[in-house]
């Protein structure tokens, strides 16, 4: 349903470079990566908030980058976002019910009674009682504000929702609540999610497939279970190793790979494979050639010179 080839370039920084992937209807795709990997830029470009310099983004078969005016309006009903900072994205002078009703008024031209009913239903969907409609954002806790933005994102019955770090800054019990609400909605309305997060435990729990990004490139993509049991890219392995584990729970991966150093600035990415300076397995080829994606198993692709040479290609 959604696929693209794209490069987003500003004057100096290639935030996202030559990215190709698909999201199928009903899937939850986790997009994982650290600072500077481009995942937020990716999310924004799917929403047409950032225009890619090159490439195409197909939504249900249509290239959205060629849309204009009315076409964009129609498109925007179908792709919504749950933003990273809920309180920042809610107008502090608007009551919650008006914040949720805003998209309804803008797109559907709904009238008064219908709006109240719809807003009430949306609040119920995220497990908030209707009286929350009368509150202002400053009166809500972090978790409640987050649920309000989720309710708002559902207002236009979108097909695809981009969730940008939905549980960042929340306590564990609040996160659990959000995850449950989001999962319920996904199952009930057959939605598709792009779940951007750096929390690997959460991504493991909720996604069907995972995309691992590093400095603007996809380094690995595959089913969640495949990636967590058999991470192929050294970066993925290092990342899974670095995640703090809870005592008594199984480690996310058995391999012992340590990531050295810090993520370099995207302004001047390393030549060849972007990960090579931090890679424990680098070879001479890694500094010269950018690796192409190799399929190691059905649905599981990795972009790594070592894997490329090991598979005899």
């Amino acid at each position: 349903m959604l696929s693209r080839v794209l490069g987003v370039k500003s004057e100096m920084v290639k935030a996202v470079d030559d990215l190709t992937f698909d999201i199928d209807e009903g899937e939850i795709v986790g997009i994982v990566g650290e600072t500077g990997c481009g995942k937020t830029t990716l999310g924004k470009s799917i929403l047409l908030l950032i225009k890619p310099v090159e490439g195409k983004i197909f939504f249900e078969g249509e290239n959205i980058l060629e849309l204009s005016g009315k076409g964009i309006r129609q498109f925007r009903r179908q792709v919504q976002i749950v933003p990273q900072d809920p309180v920042g994205s809610l107008n502090p002078r608007m009551k919650i019910k008006n914040a949720i009703a805003e998209p309804l008024r803008a797109y559907n031209g709904m009238y008064h009674e219908k709006i109240e009913e719809t807003v009430g239903n949306l609040l119920k969907t995220v497990d908030l009682s209707p009286e929350y409609g009368e509150k202002y954002p400053f009166q809500l806790s972090g978790g409640e504000a987050r649920r309000v933005t989720v309710a708002r994102s559902l207002a236009l019955h979108p097909k695809l929702i981009i969730c940008d770090e939905p549980t960042s800054g929340l306590d564990f019990s609040t996160s659990a609540k959000i995850l449950n609400v989001v999962k319920e909605i996904h199952d009930k309305f057959n939605l598709t999610y792009a779940w951007i997060s750096h929390n690997l435990h959460e991504v493991n729990y909720i996604s069907d497939r995972i995309l691992v990004m590093y400095l603007g490139k996809i380094v690995e993509i595959g089913k969640t279970s495949d990636i967590f049991t058999n991470p192929a890219h050294p970066y993925t392995q290092g990342l899974l190793q670095a995640v703090p584990r809870f005592i008594g729970r199984k480690s996310l991966t058995q391999k012992k790979v340590h990531l050295r150093g810090e993520v370099p600035s995207p302004i001047n990415p390393p030549p060849g494979c972007r990960f090579h300076p931090r890679c424990a397995f680098r070879m001479a080829k890694c500094m010269e050639v950018e690796p192409m994606a190799v399929t190691i198993k059905e649905g599981h692709k990795v972009a790594c010179c070592r894997v490329l040479s090991n598979s005899g290609m």
Binding site: E34, T35, S141, G142, D171, F172, S173, T174, S175, A176, K177, L179, N180, K183, E184, H198, L200, H201, E202, N204, Y205, I206, G238, L239, Q241, A242, V243, P244, R245, F246, I247, G248, R249, L259, E262, V263
Partner: protein, 342 residues
């Protein structure tokens, strides 16, 4: 100080906040102790009072806060009896240091990092000298050179490359992980008896967080610093803490060595917290939630504060305050029913 003595003891500490004419109890009779080289994890969610407790040790709470009862004993001396001057000269940044979450709030942006490290040494190593001696430029220059050397050595110890160049750089020229390491350098340079860390790795990337934690662990071991590690992230505590105290609404509801706490949690809140983690969930099923909310500081009862949200509460829970049950010499639970809770 011998290994078995407590470096820091908190005895029945209670702290209130005065807002308008209302009084809210943020911390209610909290007690714990730490020995040399021990890491105490103070875990709890928003509103539980862990940060208030931490700041209170250094007496850096806002004006409307008050420590109303209890004692804080550092190496045998009661901190609450010290004057502000003595606290500032001897304790803050010296015997007790702190690392906080937001590095931007710890490093002054208009001074170089080196100046700030240097100032620490200068402040705490002030000698009383005669007027004539203070004009001894040679002695002063030599001392400054030694101090500068110490600072750079410390930066190198925190694995900051090109430390002598970095010494003259400003905070904005460092990445987040590096800034935390600089602050760690400042902390360990003072060689404190107690180090208070308040969510130091929140906001850092996963790989950087892992790296900083490893480094932190090795330095704690090297300098045998007693640490209070404050976080809501149980995973981090399982990697770094020796013992953990779980806080809820201002009280410590359970305290135990880290492995025992997570293998055998007894307090209903601890159990609920552990069940909230995504890795505790069974794939495909809902995660456990804790219904209800933390009570506001103005609405805290003397009886069990968790009772309204507790699936195991019985009649006594609303009638009498819970007493601390001693499960073993190191495992304490504040609950009426912990023996019967499954």
């Amino acid at each position: 100080m011998d290994k078995d003595q407590n470096v820091l003891e908190m005895r029945e500490v209670s702290i209130i906040y005065r807002v308008g004419n209302r009084i809210g109890k943020a911390v209610d009779r909290v007690s714990f102790e730490i020995k040399k080289g021990e890491v105490l994890g103070l875990a709890g969610e928003s509103g539980c009072g862990k940060s208030t407790l931490a700041w209170s040790i250094l007496r850096l709470l806002p004006g409307n806060a008050r420590i109303v009862s209890g004692d804080m004993i550092l190496e045998g001396k009661n901190l609450l009896k010290l004057s502000e001057r003595a606290l500032n000269d001897e304790v803050r940044g010296n015997k007790i240091t702190m690392i906080i979450q937001n590095t931007k709030d710890s490093l002054n942006p208009v001074f170089t990092v080196g100046t700030q490290m240097f100032d620490l040494l200068r402040f705490h190593e002030q000698e009383k000298q005669s007027l004539i001696a203070s004009f001894n430029f040679f002695r002063r220059a030599k001392r400054n050179k030694e101090r500068r050397f110490r600072c750079i050595k410390m930066l190198e110890e925190m694995e900051i490359a090109a430390a002598d160049k970095r010494f003259s750089e400003y905070a904005f020229q460092f990445s987040g992980g590096m800034r935390q390491r600089v602050i760690m350098a400042m902390n360990f340079m003072a060689n404190p008896a107690v180090l208070i860390a308040d969510e130091p790795t929140t906001g850092l990337d996963v790989s950087v967080e892992a790296y900083v934690l490893e480094l932190f662990k090795s330095k704690i071991r090297k300098y045998e610093t007693a640490v209070i590690y404050i976080t809501h992230n149980l995973r981090i505590l399982s990697e770094i803490a020796d013992k953990v105290a779980i806080m809820y609404a201002g009280t410590i509801v359970e305290q135990a060595p880290v492995e025992e706490l997570f293998d055998n949690p007894l307090h209903p809140y601890t159990k609920a917290l552990i069940k909230c983690l995504p890795e505790s969930g069974v794939l495909g099923e809902k995660l456990q939630e804790i219904p209800g909310q933390v009570p506001s500081i103005f609405e805290r009862t003397e009886n069990c504060k968790f009772q309204p949200r507790c699936p195991y509460s019985t009649e006594i829970c609303t009638q009498a305050p819970p007493r601390t049950g001693k499960v073993s010499s190191s495992h304490f639970v504040l609950c009426h029913n912990f023996l019967t809770v499954q």
